[in-house]
Symmetry: C2
Subunit: 329 residues, 2 copies
């Protein structure tokens, strides 16, 4: 009886050997069978000698997952490779769906491991400067499996809430209008000159970086190998680098208008806009006669949320001024 098989979903990163993790390489090296889209198979060609290689073309991910399970049930070790991170618009979700439908459980003889990798947004960001820095979203403009209104609501919501946004699958030969709609939605909330970077083939031979602005985004050369990064209201372009400053230390309540962070911001001031300072201020406003409805409007937050958070007792401890939050960096 052969040894138990295994399926390893490997995120190979942006697609250069240098940017693969040691575990990604060892997982491929250990495998008997390597399955993946032909472009990624080529990227790991040096590791494939003596192995069974299953090159999947432009077919459904489910086919690749099914092949992997069949081979693993024969006792083989299978490496199923994705560009970037297998969990981000990659093979991880579809593979587990196939496994569950086939009756697999974690107690099964066939083991499953997911090897994390840097996703396209991380790789592209590293090339253009420091566009992410803080809160960000990833949205796919591929509407084959997701209805357009769902995507549109997501685009509008994150544009309004001032996230940095990475657009995956921004455009293809057939999907040419989605990027136009994305631009339309973003322009409802963000300045026309908001920095946008379009990165093609990050860390690969045909790597290309284009810096533009939101109002010209949809006119750029964007294809299947591109990722689009849209800055938030503070993001700036300087000396050819796209940088998003941290937080809103220079502006009260996030009314950031762009530009760099100013030095000398006192910790006490920042703290007053943190949660506990904000709650104290809310209570003072209520005590002074302001209504919940007015406060909800002023802070652009739901009324029921304002009411609920006011109703919850504070635990009495106020963060001391200048205290260092032991946040890891």
């Amino acid at each position: 009886m052969s040894a138990a098989g295994k399926i390893t979903l490997v995120g190979i990163g942006p697609g250069s050997v240098e940017h693969m993790t040691a575990r990604a390489r060892s997982a491929i090296a250990e495998a008997d069978v390597v399955v993946g889209y032909v472009t990624y198979i080529k990227l790991v060609a040096d590791l494939l000698e003596g192995k069974e290689v299953v090159r999947k073309g432009m077919t459904e991910e489910l086919d690749r997952a099914v092949s992997a399970l069949e081979a693993a049930r024969e006792g083989k070790k299978v490496a199923l490779i994705s560009s970037g991170d297998a969990g981000v618009y990659g093979m991880a979700g579809p593979t587990y769906e196939v496994l569950f439908q086939a009756g697999w459980t974690p107690d099964d003889a066939v083991q499953v491991e997911i090897v994390p990798g840097a996703s396209a947004l991380n790789a592209c960001a590293a090339l253009v400067g420091a566009p992410l820095t803080h809160d960000f979203c990833a949205i796919s403009l591929s509407d084959l499996l997701t209805p357009w209104p769902v995507i549109a609501r997501r685009l509008d919501a994150v544009a309004r809430a001032d996230f940095v946004v990475a657009l995956y699958n921004p455009k293809s030969g057939r999907r040419t209008r989605q990027i136009v709609e994305a631009q339309r939605l973003f322009l409802r909330h963000r300045r026309a000159d908001t920095p946008v970077a379009i990165v093609k083939s990050a860390y690969r031979r045909r790597q290309n970086l284009v810096f533009t602005t939101l109002d010209q985004m949809s006119e750029q050369d964007i294809g299947m190998l591109s990722t689009v990064l849209i800055g938030n209201s503070s993001t700036f372009l300087r000396n050819g680098l796209m940088v998003t400053p941290r937080g809103y230390a220079n502006k009260y309540d996030g009314l950031a208008q762009g530009g760099e962070t100013r030095d000398g911001e006192k910790p006490g001031r920042s703290l007053s806009t943190g949660l506990l300072g904000w709650l104290h201020a809310l209570r003072e406003q209520v005590d002074a006669g302001r209504s919940v409805a007015e406060l909800a409007c002023e802070h652009d937050l739901p009324e029921d949320y304002i009411a609920a958070t006011l109703a919850e007792p504070m635990d009495g401890a106020v963060e001391p001024v200048g205290a260092e939050d032991a946040d890891e960096r």
Copy 2:
């Protein structure tokens, strides 16, 4: 005259040698000076022989960036290390801010390189199953530099728009209420039994995974080394694995109620809810006498957006049924 110095911002991934990229290791190996938070310095101890090591404690990122620039100006190669990816709540943004303030430009003798790595959300996701899969956001609950209302609006927006959400810096000794507020906001839009995973120290010695639900999220043991992953409306927990299915292939217009994707969904049906199918349907509804206001309400999209997209001519090409979109996976 010494050779030109260099600053390399290295994302070391989750914090095990196996999950570092080859470039991350070579950048550290090449460096004369290695700067970083003491926890990460320890993780790369094997690479540090003969190097000047600057262990920064719990201080501002700006100090680390200033040290790096000073050393690089002396001609040294400096590796500035971050856990995860340097561009995600890491050193990249603060470093560029310091560099610009010091008059640096990309034409400077001092070179700058950012080495991408897998961020905490990728590493944590790989351990709990396939929670990301599709559109997701990262939000930091650290309100030291960002006013609470900005964070609250972001949480509410992405909860409503049905993103999978990763919470960074979810809780600390001093910041204990932010996670409670996050739960409150999410419960406005998402079921109480929405799967949540809390991952501590992914791929490190004290790694710990906890699976819970949204209504119990804030009661869990969450600390400085934790990342919280909140599922979307389709995410399910099965056999101890948290999985988000792709898209909404099983439900028209995204009214997903959770559960697995059904087989046999016809490409034609999916296509009808894609952008072009939706635009055709919109026009038909307008021709049948529906008002823009009604349609905006029905699709939960802004009226001005509906009006603008209807006003733009379609280019006449409808995506053929069953056409394969050459999306990379």
